[in-house]
Subunit: 454 residues, 2 copies
Amino acid sequence: MQDVIDHLEQNQEAALEQLKELLRIPTVSADSAFADDMRKGAEFVHNALQEAGLSVKTIETPGHPIIYAEWLKAEGAPTVLIYGHYDVQPPDPLDLWTTPAFEPDVRDGCIWARGATDDKGQCWTHVLSVGAWLKVHGSLPVNIKFVIEGEEEVGSENLDVFLEQHKEKLACDVAVVSDSSQYAPGIPAITYGLRGILACEVTLTGPNRDLHSGSFGGAVINPVNALCRLMGMLHDDQGRIQIPGFYDSVIALTAEERAQFASLPFDESEWLADLGTDAPAGEVGFSSNERRWARPTCDINGISGGYSGEGPKTIVPSKATAKITCRLVPDQNPEQLTAALKNFLADNLQPGLKFEFTSQHGAPASVADLNSPYMAAAKSAIEKSFDSVPVMVREGGSIPVVGSFKEILGIDTLLLGWGQNSDNLHSPDEHFSIEDFHRGTAASAYLWQELANG
Amino acid sequence: MQDVIDHLEQNQEAALEQLKELLRIPTVSADSAFADDMRKGAEFVHNALQEAGLSVKTIETPGHPIIYAEWLKAEGAPTVLIYGHYDVQPPDPLDLWTTPAFEPDVRDGCIWARGATDDKGQCWTHVLSVGAWLKVHGSLPVNIKFVIEGEEEVGSENLDVFLEQHKEKLACDVAVVSDSSQYAPGIPAITYGLRGILACEVTLTGPNRDLHSGSFGGAVINPVNALCRLMGMLHDDQGRIQIPGFYDSVIALTAEERAQFASLPFDESEWLADLGTDAPAGEVGFSSNERRWARPTCDINGISGGYSGEGPKTIVPSKATAKITCRLVPDQNPEQLTAALKNFLADNLQPGLKFEFTSQHGAPASVADLNSPYMAAAKSAIEKSFDSVPVMVREGGSIPVVGSFKEILGIDTLLLGWGQNSDNLHSPDEHFSIEDFHRGTAASAYLWQELANG
C-alpha cells in the first residue's frame, strides 16, 4: 500500500498537469457549439483510462458518449463502480472570472477553472489512484468499473438507458461517486443520505375570463384567493405538513444521527445572514441541519395568477397556478404522497373551481447503510489520507444517479466528496484545493485496499 | 311640456342623423394617431351645443379639450351639471365588427358603431332634450351646465384639475350622468350606489436569492408559502373578511333595499354559466347581487413569486408579491382600512421575512340619497318616458367622476343609464337601441321639468 501512496506523492505534479490538460477542453454539454470539444473530452478520458491500464470502451448515445472502463482481475474481491462526469456547466458570465474558465490557473493553493471541482478534478482522483495501483503492482485489490458520462450537467438523459442496457456488464457491489463536498475545510464527510422528491403543479380556474373586480368581485370565486387558501393549509403553525398520512412512513432520525448532526460546527446566524434572512424557519423541534437534510418539506417553487405588471389592475383573475415540490425522506413513497397531496387539495377545494393537478416527477429518498463494510472501508480510507475521521452527513437534495444505481443495479453509493461548499460550483471562479485533490487521490487509493480487506 | 315631447318626436330622424355624424368621427383618445379626429370631435360637440342655444367654451387641457356649455337663465331654479364624454374606446379587433366601427349602421332596431352607447349616444340624449326645450320655449325650467370631456377612456387625467380650477363656475345642485345601463331590456334603472376601493401591493422577501430547494428547503422561510398563508387568512370559511375592524363602519342594507334587489329578475345559474363557473361564491348570508353591489370584498388581483415557466424548478423563491384590492361600501374609510390591512398582514407575518406594503389608491363608496327630491324627479321622468318605474340598483365598481363631483363640488350624481349591459361597450359591434335613444331623450326632457317642480 505504501508503495502506491509513495508513487502518488512522487507524481503529484504530473497528476496536476494531466488534470489541467483535461480542464483546458471546454466540455460544455449544454451548448452544441462545444460538440467537438465534448468529443475531445471523451477521447481524453478514454485515453487516460487506457494508459492507466484499464480496458476502455467509448459508448455512443443519442447525446454525448459515455466512457466505460474496467479492470476485473481481482478474483473473489468486491467489484466497485466508479461514476463521474467529464462535462461541465457553461462558464457564463465570463467577465466575472479572475482568470479564463478554460485556462486553468494555480494560485492560493487551488486550481481555478470550470470543472476543477465539478467534476473533472474530483473524478480524476479515482483515475489516478487506479492508475497508481496498476503501475506499482500491476493489479488492484478490487475489481473496478468506471462509468464517466458527458451529460450530467444536462440531466443525464441517456445514462439510465445505458445502465438498463448494460445491467449485467455493470454488476457490482458498491458505487463510489466523488461529486460532492467535505462538510467544511478540514472536516471530510461521507454523505450517507439524500432526500427524495415529488413535483407537481396545481391550477385552479374560476371564471372563464378575467372579470372586472368591481362588477363581479365578492360574488364569483377568485381562484388566486382560493389557491392561497389551499396552499396556506399545507402547514400548521408548527411547520408540520398537514397532508393526511404524510409522516406515516417517515423513519425518524436515530439518537446517534441527531447527536452526530448536533456535533457538527454550524454557525446558524452566519448561515442565515449569508442567506439574507434573520430567523430560522421550519418544523418545530428540529435543528436547521435536521430540517434541510432529514425532514420532508412542502415548498411552493412558484406561483402565478392574474396581473403581475406594474400598478394595480382591478380584476378577479380566471386562473392561478402553483408549482409544488416535496422533499422526501426514507421511507416516504413519492407516488403515494403525490396522490395524498392531490386528494388533500381536492378535498379542501371550494365550490365553483376547476381543479387540475399534474404530477411531474418523483424519486424516493435514499440512505446508505451506516454499518455496512463499504461504509467502514470508506471511513477508514478517508481517515488515513485526511488524518481526520469523516463526519457522516446527509444532503437535502437528490443525486439522481444514486437512485438509478439503487434501482437498476441494486447497489448503494458511497458519496465521498473532496471539494468544499465554497468551491463555486456552477459559478464563476470555480476552484478546487490542490491539497484536497492529492488527499482525495490518496484516500481513493486506500479505499480499494480497505474494500478488499472489508 | 308636451310641446317639447312632440318636437322631439317630430325630429327623431334628424336627431339620429346628428348622432351618426358624431359617430363617424373616430375619437379614439388612447391613440395619438387620432389626435386630429379628437379635435374634430370636440368641435362637433362645441358647435352642436352652440346650435342648441347654450353658451359654449372649449377648454384646452394638457390632453384632449373639455367642452363646457351653460344656460343659466332659470332664476331661482336648481342648477344641473350634465357630464358626458366624446372620446371612445379603440375599435380593435376590427375584423370582429359586422359593419365598420366608424360607419354607423342601423339594423335590428339599433345603431351600431363605436361610441353608440358609450358615451356619444347616451350623452346626446341630454344635448337633444336641452336643445328641444330652448327651441320650443326659448328657455329651460332649470339651469344647465354641460361638461363633456375627451379623456374618459384614458383615465380622465385632466378632469379633476379642471373641476378644481372651475369649482365656482361649476357650482350646481346635482349632476346627471348617462353612461351606464338599464337593469335589463324593459327595466330602466337608477344606479344609486357605487362601491369604493382600496388598492395595495404586498411583497415578502425570504432569502436574498432563489435557493436550491434540496439543499435549503425546510430550513429557510419560503416567501411564497408564507404569502399564501397570509392571503389564506384574509377570509374565514364563511367568506367573511378577517381584517380587524373591517366591517365596523359598514352600513347594512335596509330591508327595503334587500327586498328591491330580491325582486329583480336574476337568473343566477345562467349568470354563472356565462362566467364559466358552476357555483356561487362569497359571503354567507347574502345574495349574488348583494355581494357584488353592496358588500365589501378583498380580492387578490394578481400573485407572483418564484418560477412560472414550463415544468418544475426546485427552488425556494426569494420573493413573492400579491396585488390586493378591497371593494368598499358606505361608510368604510379607505385610508383606515388600508392601515388595518397592513397591520393585519404585519401582525401575522412569520419570522425571517422582509415585509413591504405599498398603498396604491383609495376611494370611498358612494350612495345617493334615495329620498332626495332629485331622485324623485329622476324616477318620475323615467317613468313618464319608459312607461315603467325604474328599479333602484347599485353597481359594484367605482365611477371616478361621481367621487370627484362629490369631493370637489359637493354634489350627488344621478346615474341614469339608457343602454343595456349587452350593448358591447368596449367590444366589437357596440350598439344602442334606437328606441332607448329616443326614450332616454324624452326622459331627459321630462327630467328638467321634474327637477324644477321638485
